[in-house]
């Protein structure tokens, strides 16, 4: 499913995608990469997506980076929490590729 996400963004032919296999990896990548947009799932092996959002939104270095949640989450509760924590948008899998592309353009243009 993640590759679906990558190919959707790749199709815009404008962005370089850095993939993190886990929340920990994302934490390590953030200071190293110049990130313009973060897309995260909720369920991840180490820290959950909400925790990642909380980290990003409370860190002055990353606060301003737009952040989307893409998730299959059962409970809408988790998605709502994500938005409350400062996620900009959310998409529920299977997502509409065009919608994702539009959202990306909205935040990055």
């Amino acid at each position: 499913m993640r590759s679906m996400l990558v190919s959707t963004i790749d199709a815009l032919e404008r962005f370089t995608i850095v993939e993190a296999a886990s929340g920990f990896e994302a934490l390590r990548l953030l200071p190293r990469e110049q990130v313009d947009l973060i897309i995260t799932d909720i369920n991840m092996p180490d820290i959950n997506g909400l925790e990642l959002i909380s980290y990003v939104r409370n860190n002055p270095n990353y606060q301003q980076i737009p952040l989307f949640i893409v998730s299959t989450e059962s409970g809408d509760k988790d998605l709502e929490k994500g938005l409350a924590l400062g996620a900009n948008e959310y998409l529920v899998k299977p997502f509409d590729p065009q919608k994702l592309q539009e959202l990306i353009c909205k935040y990055l243009d």
Binding site: M1, T16, L27, L50, S54, N61, S74
Partner: protein
């Protein structure tokens, strides 16, 4: 790759992965049904099953197997409810899970068949739904408020984590907040260690990261932890720098607390189950494989020594022990070569990983250059040593960049030339004997040989009155500081390219070749050995010096009479079957004195890489041996014709010939 072929491969990939997931799923379900009898289920186990169903659903959806995806989805719903405590685990649920998994297995196996029977999902779906429709056992007021959880922690807990917290509280466990400050560079391993330690005595409920107070290189974590241990015990157990433990909601008794003198905290009995992981692959640091390979190399040397001792004993008349030792050495040799092969195979990865990187680069550069380029890939499953793939990434990237920069024309120009406005770059890879060939083809304008010559004259490498053939002219491109590009682009065209490419590939005992079709495109061919670490070598001597020749580049050895040598353009050649073979006296190449030039007959080792052949004149063929090539370091890097050094096992160190560069030097002419 045709559509049919790629579909076939896709289905195969799907089957392999789906079957692996199902195997694990069945195993976990058995463990889960054991838990159901005890009425207590291990959250890690339920999660593992949930993730398996989830992956299977995603996978099936991606490959268009809608029945599997649908059933997977229902299974996932049930497991999710189980995970979140909305449904109690009992034998009814377990049997629904088993039935669903069994049906999934059938569906997956049918997916591999050309025409599978449409399956009836309704029965299984029905039993799943009936499990789901049971009233949720929630409702009691949340005791969580009494914990006084920090707002930040509470706000970032998922519904599942909240459920786990609640379960811990219900069980009468104490809830702790553990705060730890770590370095950003090493936090994951340290945190993993801490988590593992904690899991032995309780449950890690959530892990919230936060920016460390003002420290750029630091990261803090707040771990919510449920355990029966007392604060002092827990603090002692996890004691380390920058870590603090605080018990939450301690003022109030939440549920019946366990007596303080409870001597042995109950270790989770499901411990053995949690150790199971979904994946059956292991990630290994290549350094460890290198170390293993080195050990195998040393063993190979020890084996050579033993064989030699056996031979010496036989010569000295100790026949019986010599024979026994020889036999043992043979057995050792056999096992050693199996071990060597095994370690070598672990290091092999498909070239596709390299190709993947290139497709990103092609897209990026063609966009920057305003050119339209299609990338075609062939032979992505050809395997090569991981280290070789790493080392050729940059050279291949450079060649690809050159192809777009200098090769492929702008869309307007291509249309004017009557070509498709979209250029094509083809990356292909295949095995050829002991070598792997990687080719980069483009259908651009090719190389303007006249311009190359003109540039060579400007740089003074070619005299103004002089002229050379196309092959020689193309060789100029590999000279340091050579660039024919009119405008210097950001990435290629500064002339730092092709000479570095050639040097890097030569360092891997490989070769680069250029083929030019003016107006139609360029082909760059890279020929590489499959692996580097241990190679079979032919040991030869000339003028009293011993050298090793990688056997992969030796075609044959022949005995030549002095009278058979002819001279063409002041170069010695012999007629070998239908072809003329240029000769190179190694003693002259390395400017050694004392070679047996007057001999009436001598040995010629015919070596070849790609399409090129050369006969090396040597004094003696000593034999074949496995050698471990070691680098001779920066100091000697400039020496032509040497790729490294090897230990012969009798305390002698010899030089290993770089056949590619020897051939290159010899065919370029004696400079």
């Amino acid at each position: 790759m045709s559509v049919d072929e790629s579909m076939g491969k896709a289905v195969k990939d799907f089957l392999a992965e789906a079957e692996e997931i199902l195997d694990q799923l069945s195993l976990d379900l058995v463990a889960l049904s054991d838990c159901a009898d005890g009425g207590e289920c291990n959250p890690d186990l339920v999660n593992s099953v949930f993730r398996a169903a989830h992956s299977l659903k995603g996978l099936a959806g991606m490959f268009g197997f809608s029945e599997i995806a649908e059933l997977g989805h229902h299974l996932e719903n049930l497991l999710d409810a189980l995970r979140l405590g909305r449904v109690e685990l009992d034998q009814g649920v377990v049997s629904a899970l088993f039935a669903a998994t069994e049906l999934l297995g059938t569906l997956v196996r049918n997916a591999g068949l050309p025409e599978g029977e449409p399956a009836d999902l309704s029965g299984v779906m029905c039993s799943i739904n009936s499990c789901l429709s049971r009233e949720p056992n929630k409702g009691q007021g949340s005791p969580l408020t009494r914990l006084n959880l920090p707002e930040r922690v509470l706000s970032s807990m998922t519904e599942y984590e909240e459920h786990r917290l609640l379960e811990n509280v219900k069980k009468g466990r104490r809830i702790y907040s553990i705060h730890v400050s770590l370095l950003l560079s090493s936090f994951d391993s340290e945190l993993m260690e801490l988590t593992e330690q904690l899991k032995q005595v309780g449950e890690v409920i959530s892990t919230l990261p936060s920016a460390s107070g003002g420290l750029e290189a630091g990261i803090d974590f707040e771990i919510l932890f449920g355990s029966e241990l007392g604060t002092a015990e827990l603090s002692a157990l996890v004691e380390r720098e920058q870590l603090s433990v605080a018990r939450l909601g301690a003022e109030e008794t939440l549920v019946a607390p366990l007596p303080e003198d409870d001597h042995h905290p109950q270790l989770p009995t499901e411990g053995s189950v949690t150790a199971k992981s979904m994946s059956r692959t292991v990630r290994v640091d290549i350094g460890k494989l290198d170390m293993l390979m080195n050990i195998v190399g040393e063993l190979v040397l020890s084996h050579s020594m033993i064989s030699e001792v056996a031979a010496r004993m036989r010569r000295d008349g100790y026949l019986v022990p010599a024979q026994e030792l020889g036999k043992a050495a043979k057995g050792l040799e056999k096992k050693l070569s199996e071990l060597q092969k095994g370690v070598m195979e672990i290091r092999m990865i498909p070239v596709g990983q390299l190709f993947e990187k290139m497709s990103r680069i092609v897209r990026k550069i063609s966009r920057e250059q305003g050119k339209k380029v299609e990338l075609r890939l062939f032979g992505a499953d050809t395997e090569l040593d991981k280290l070789i793939i790493e080392d050729i990434s940059d050279p291949v990237m450079h060649i690809v960049r050159n192809a777009i920069d200098h090769g492929i024309e702008t869309p307007e120009r291509r249309v004017a030339l009557g070509k498709d406005e979209k250029g094509t770059i083809t990356l292909s890879s295949f095995q050829k004997g002991n070598h792997v060939v990687i080719q980069v083809d483009d259908d651009g304008g090719g190389i303007d040989v006249e311009r190359v010559k003109q540039k060579a004259r400007e740089l003074g490498v070619l005299g103004f009155g002089e002229d050379v053939g196309e092959r020689e002219a193309l060789e100029f491109i590999f000279l340091p500081g050579f660039s024919t590009s009119l405008e210097v682009s950001e990435i290629s065209g500064r002339g730092v390219g092709m000479d570095v490419v050639r040097t890097n590939i030569a360092a891997l005992s490989g070769m680069v070749d250029l083929e030019n079709r003016p107006g139609e495109g360029t082909r760059v061919t890279i020929t590489l050995p499959i692996t580097l670490a241990i190679i079979k070598a032919l040991i030869i001597s000339t003028a009293g010096r011993t050298y090793a020749l990688p056997i992969t580049s030796v075609l044959e050895s022949i005995l030549v009479e002095k009278g058979e040598i002819r001279t063409i353009e002041r170069k010695e050649v012999i007629q070998l079957r239908e072809a003329t073979l240029p000769l190179l006296r190694l003693s002259e190449f390395f400017r050694l004195s004392g070679a047996g030039e007057s001999a009436e007959s001598f040995y010629v080792v015919v070596v070849g890489i790609a399409e090129k052949r050369l006969g090396l004149v040597v004094d003696e063929l000593i034999g074949q041996q496995d050698i471990v090539i070691k680098s001779i370091g920066e100091t000697f890097a400039g020496f032509k014709g040497i790729s490294g050094a090897a230990d012969l096992g009798d305390q002698r160190t010899i030089l290993v010939l770089d056949v590619g560069s020897v051939i290159g030097e010899a065919t370029r002419g004696s400079s």
